[in-house]
Amino acid sequence: METTLDLSRCLEKPRGVAYRRWVITSTGLRQLLATRFFRLLLTLAWTAGVGMAACGLVFSQSVATGGWLERAATAFGPRAEALASAFGGLVLLYPDVCVTGLFTVVFWLQSFLGLWLCLVALTVLVPRLVTRDRASNALIIYLARPLTSVDYLVGKLGIVAGLLGLLWTGPLLFGWALSMLFAPNSDFLVYSISPLLRALLFNGVSLVVLAAVALGASALTRSSRITILLWISLWIIAGTLAGGSRSPEWLRRVSFTYNLHALRAHTLRLDTTLINAAEQLPLLSATLAAKLKSEGAKAAPTSLPGTLASLAGFVALSSVVFLRKLRPE
């Protein structure tokens, strides 16, 4: 009494570990993309990317010789024409202040939206990373295959990286690239590179921190509800407590979002941009210059070593949690 096993045989050489990690990542992202909520966040993020591109495009076309601003100014008489020319000249004379400044402000704003969208999306994603695999014993299915717990983690890390790429880095690069495509001269490319690299640096550090904290929170419990509550506590409650004007230093250090905001101030240097504009641009009125200076002073970053130490602490603590919990049960 036998069953006839009519099966094809696997004659192909099995694909390598990079492929297997990619399978974990791509499947996780595909599951995420299937949710309507994530598609909504994606629409918001890429609309902001298009907005960035439009902003850069309008600015570059405004100051270009023969651009729409110059043409429009001719219709309003010689005074308007002179002002438009002066504005264009200002960009030509101070590209480091004007172009760098504009892109710093744009990337600063985009980083707020990007980070916020990622935090919201992670609220949905966090239970899907490790919690549900632990609850359903799926971990054993992964680890009984030619995969190690490191491969599993790299695959899951890829999902967080993909999420950040889709909601934050992608729109950032898209907006910048599109605005460069229509830039009137190479000054826009040269002087926007520095803020772009700074924005990408902040993006990269945020990826490491968010991935570590998300994986740590996800690995800590076997209940999706508790994981979401934990994530919200770490993000909103700790962030709100740390953001209070009278909060002590130690309380500020226990919020990863507060420290990410502090790191943004260090990397994007909005304060320097505003103060440089106030000091170097000759056309600004004294009141406007003073206002820019005071806003610049407000945006000045706090202690960098404290911020970095706190973020490193979050990464280390989360790594300990998920490395200890990633064992079959």
């Binding site: 036998e2 096993l5 094809s8 399978v23 014993n137 799926a138 295959r145």
Partner: protein
């Protein structure tokens, strides 16, 4: 029929494999070499069967000793040792939010199959384990029996050379269990896939396995082919006469055969020979009506209990 694979000398080789959980010895100096085939892993609860399988899969780190699966050292070639291994764990273990065929395809990809091949194999294997249109349903909604089928499918999807099955028939209805046993029993004969099946159901093991390992208190008590184990067993014949039970009893007593009358009306007779010719001769001689004769009933069960008793004796 598909071509048989080349077989190595041993599919599993363990040398002084020991696993401690604190002071508890879950595996105690396990040394054995297992040739290809369908191997039954028997033992009471907490005997160390699952720990043994988990150590071979590197899901648990052995405290000391070494082991090889399909010739690969489990510690030195961590991923490589599991390249051609399939595992169906005892407990429910599925990836949430996936349909059955999606889950099996994904497991195939995790073992290194391309998407196209994984999908093709997934459908073939799901047909094989008897899963119809349910494969398109979310796996979270499956009954226990369907989950068992999905678990077996994920273990087979990448065409493994050795398959570890931990209590694979749990939760299956009788017809499903029968189908599963036939399928598992065919794997080595038709595909050359060795199967290590851990079960409490001795009849299942006796039916489909050609080799048995009995484990208790983390130690291997018996490891031999089913044939050899049966020859070491006391020769017992059960005879169910169709009538005249008292005359049968008298004939057995007259012939000097030790027997026991069971509550179901059967005679349990212990003999030195494997043959049942003497019983047929006795029936003819005394003109007794024929009846059902079962040679060596529950041989494995008896051997299993005897092994456990001797292990308990040694332990005490």
């Amino acid at each position: 029929m598909p071509p048989r694979r080349e077989e190595g000398d041993f599919v599993i080789a363990a040398h002084q494999l020991t696993k401690l959980y604190g002071r508890h010895r879950a595996l105690d100096d396990v040394t054995l070499q297992v040739p290809p085939g369908t191997i039954g892993l028997l033992g009471p609860n907490g005997a160390g069967k699952s720990t043994f399988i988990k150590c071979l899969l590197n899901l648990e780190t052995p405290t000391s000793g070494s082991a090889q699966v399909l010739g690969c050292d489990i510690r030195e070639s961590n991923r490589g040792a599991r390249e051609k291994v399939g595992y169906s764990p005892e407990q429910d273990s599925h990836i949430p939010g996936m349909a059955g065929c999606e889950y099996v395809t994904y497991c195939g990809q995790l073992s290194g199959l391309s998407f196209r091949q994984a999908r093709q194999r997934a459908h073939e294997i799901l047909d094989l384990v008897g899963m119809g249109q349910e494969r398109y349903r979310q796996i979270d909604t499956y009954s226990t029996g369907m989950k068992q089928r999905a678990k077996l499918a994920q273990a087979l999807v990448h065409d493994p050379k050795i398959l570890f099955l931990d209590e694979p028939t749990n939760g299956l209805d009788p017809s499903g269990r029968e189908y599963f046993l036939r399928l598992i029993g065919s794997l080595h004969r038709q595909l050359g896939t060795s199967v290590v099946i851990s079960s409490h159901l001795l009849n299942d093991i006796e039916r489909i396995c050609d080799r048995v390992i009995i484990i208790a208190r983390g130690r291997v008590l018996e490891h031999d082919s089913m044939e050899n184990l049966k020859t070491r067993h006391r020769r017992i014949v059960e005879f169910a006469p169709s009538g005249e039970a008292d005359r049968v009893a008298a004939a057995l007593t007259a012939g000097g055969h030790a027997f026991q009358r069971l509550s179901n009306g059967r005679f349990r007779i212990e003999e030195r020979s494997d043959s049942i010719e003497w019983l047929l001769e006795l029936l003819r001689e005394h003109r007794l009506p024929p009846g059902e004769i079962v040679a060596n009933p529950n041989a494995l069960h008896e051997l299993f209990l005897r092994s456990l008793a001797s292990a308990d004796g040694n332990h005490a």
